[in-house]
């Protein structure tokens, strides 16, 4: 395969995965708003898909991912099954977590995805520990932890990044900077220049990238992961993107400057940008539309199948708490 072929293959894969993530989340939002089937909150990553695909295409199935409440894209890009994920969003049997976690707690250990997290920043120390455990075991697997721009203002950021630095751990920290922390513009509550500078002050190499450019994210992450796999220690990637939806699918986000989100959608959509890249490589509009259509029909079917799945058996409420003193044996 020539380099050009390789580049085209990767570019197409990046687009296809972004289309699948977008379609999954559009269906999830419909399931929440139109069908009232998603019972808890979902946090869409619409407009941020380039970070998920560009980072994750450099990680193997047995590498480890930890993510956030806005983690559908990361999880799909790590290889999780969208039907199991959709069932989880609907609280159904056969969900990734048997319907016990929901959107904010999706985990799929089978693909090395050790959990989204409902507590902002909490996964930073846990991810450092996963890398610590792998290093103790002499493993050649590596870890990626993705968190938001809001998370860098929590204590675990300092403790976890410092930990990775002093123990020289095989981990990539990705700050997925969508510029908002819930309803607050993150820059208004963040001292100093932000994620990259903070990581550098703790001894990490930090790279900043346009997080809506899938090719750039993939390129720069390839260089970083090569260094980490070669024993180069932890690094930080600061990916700048934009949260196009409200904080949750139900949030109209009236606190944003008028037109901001619409302008982003028109001028800086990662999927549109990647289509343009592929068009430049010679793909026709029909070929690109076919990728879009395939993703759409896949996820429409996923939602239909998930909605047809029963809720978990009642006794699961007392299962998988602990071995000793399990509530299944003694509830109190």
């Amino acid at each position: 395969m020539t380099t050009a072929d390789h580049n085209t293959r990767r570019a197409r894969d990046l687009l296809a995965m972004m289309e699948r993530i977008r379609a999954f989340e559009e269906q999830a939002c419909l399931a929440a708003e139109r069908d009232k089937l998603v019972l808890g909150a979902i946090h869409p990553s619409i407009g941020q898909e380039a970070v998920a695909v560009g980072v994750m295409c450099n990680f193997n199935r047995d590498d480890i991912l930890l993510s956030t409440h806005r983690g559908h894209g990361h999880t799909l890009a790590k290889g999780a099954d969208p039907l199991a994920m959709m069932r989880e969003l609907l609280g159904r049997e056969g969900g990734c977590c048997g319907g016990k976690g929901g959107s904010m707690h999706i985990a799929d250990f089978g693909v090395g995805m050790l959990g989204a997290n409902g507590v902002v920043g909490a996964n930073i120390t846990i991810a450092a520990g996963a890398a610590h455990g792998l290093k103790l075991q002499g493993s050649d697997r590596i870890v990626v932890d993705i968190f938001g721009d809001g998370a860098i203002n929590r204590g675990p950021f300092l403790e976890g990044v410092n930990w990775a630095s002093v123990f020289d751990l095989p981990i990539l920290f990705v700050c997925e900077d969508n510029q908002y922390s819930a309803t607050t513009k993150t820059s208004t509550v963040t001292g100093g220049p932000g994620a990259a500078a903070r990581a550098e002050s703790l001894g990490l190499r930090a790279t900043t990238v346009d997080g809506n450019d899938a090719e750039a994210v993939a390129d720069v992450t390839a260089e970083i992961t090569a260094r980490i796999r070669a024993g180069g220690g932890p690094e930080m990637l600061h990916a700048i993107t934009y949260r196009r939806t409200g904080h949750t699918s139900f949030d109209p986000a009236g606190y944003r400057p008028e037109g901001e989100s619409e302008r982003e959608a028109e001028t800086n959509d990662p999927i549109a940008r990647q289509r343009a890249v592929l068009a430049g490589m010679g793909l026709s509009t029909d070929e690109l539309d076919a990728i879009h259509a395939a993703a759409q029909s896949e996820m429409v079917q996923v939602l239909a199948d998930a909605a047809a799945t029963p809720f978990p058996a009642d006794e699961m409420a007392l299962q998988d708490v602990q071995d000793i003193g399990s509530p299944a044996q003694e509830a109190y």
């Binding site: 480890i64 976690g101 120390t125 455990g133 103790l136 976890g160 930990w163 123990f167 000793i324 003193g325």
Partner: protein
């Protein structure tokens, strides 16, 4: 039988487990120098700095990182130095470690032992003296252990490391030097109480160092014609309801004593369970002893105001008998 102190007992158990299972490792501050009370003395020399890891003063990261390492297949023993500092890692313990297995539908385990030295230790004052065992019992997902003797600290540490659940392991700071005979072949099933003294007149239920006080109080009571049974729960979750209920069915009388604040303490749980399951057998008023709902002071006379004493236990036992 080998003579050991309380601190030597858990250290020896840990050492043996580290030889038996190479996935066991220790993580915390100052471990290379033995930590605050010598619980790790010599272990770094023996096992190296990777398996006895000196960490930054980052309690949240110690707890969180140990959890991450547990999820990828290691068995960390986590040192929190003083139980009070473990509060800096509350999210990691309560929201992450205790919940992951359930939240992720059974995909993960957190086989870890979280050591938190507890209790009154002369003039350590309000931030270095607490016993918060009842908090942990309130968190589904956790196992809560409170050994009170060298034998139990040896056998329970081994069982805790072998356990696949996260275990909160509360050693009392006041008894590190307590000596006792240890049978290193003795296995203890977690969740089973120890009857430290058999008796027919009144049941004294306790744990941690207060259980030792109850044993002393029982000797004093014997001299006054009261035959007390002492039950050392050892494990607060799960706890041995059966041992307590059957003892109260025999004696008809109950005193529960613990060092922690009485209000909302685990003693209330014990009393409520006995009332529900053996209320018909009670032949006298129930007594519950614990600290006033105040803070531990530095000045010794003020600190003493927080103590449950042998005399208080003796008096309470006699009250249950109408004496």
């Amino acid at each position: 039988m080998v003579k050991m102190t309380f601190v030597e007992a858990s250290r020896e158990a840990l050492r043996e487990m580290m030889h038996e299972d190479e996935t066991v490792w220790c993580v915390g501050e100052d471990l290379g120098r033995g930590s605050v009370f010598g619980q790790y003395l010599g272990l770094q020399d023996e096992f190296g700095p990777d398996r006895v890891a000196d960490t930054p003063i980052s309690e949240a990261a110690i707890m969180g990182a140990a959890f991450g390492a547990a999820m990828v297949g290691t068995r960390p023993v986590v040192e929190m130095r003083f139980s009070d500092f473990a509060l800096c890692a509350t999210d990691e313990l309560v929201n992450q470690i205790a919940k992951a297995r359930f939240m992720f539908g059974g995909q993960s385990r957190a086989p870890m032992v979280i050591r938190k030295p507890i209790g009154l230790w002369r003039s350590s004052a309000a931030q270095h003296s607490q016993s918060l065992e009842s908090w942990y019992v309130h968190i589904p997902g956790l196992v809560v252990l409170c050994p009170a003797t060298p034998q139990d600290n040896y056998s329970m540490m081994k069982a805790a490391i072998r356990c696949d659940d996260p275990v909160v392991y509360l050693e009392h700071k006041n008894i590190w030097g307590m000596e006792g005979e240890v049978d290193t072949s003795l296995d203890i099933e977690l969740g089973k109480a120890a009857v430290r003294r058999q008796g027919a007149d009144v049941t004294l239920v306790s744990w941690s160092d207060t259980a030792n006080l109850c044993v002393q109080a029982a000797e004093t009571l014997a001299g006054e014609g009261v035959d007390a049974e002492v039950i050392d729960l050892r494990s607060l979750w799960p706890w041995d309801k059966e041992a307590v209920v059957s003892s109260v069915r025999k004696t008809g009388r109950l005193v529960v004593a613990h060092e922690s604040v009485a209000v909302g303490g685990f003693g209330a749980e014990v009393v409520a369970t006995v009332v529900e399951q053996a209320g018909d057998a009670l032949r006298g008023p129930v007594r519950r002893l614990g600290a006033p709902r105040s803070l531990v002071a530095y000045a010794p006379n003020l600190e003493d105001k927080m103590r449950v004493t042998e005399q208080m236990i003796v008096t309470a036992a006699k009250e249950t008998m109408g004496k």
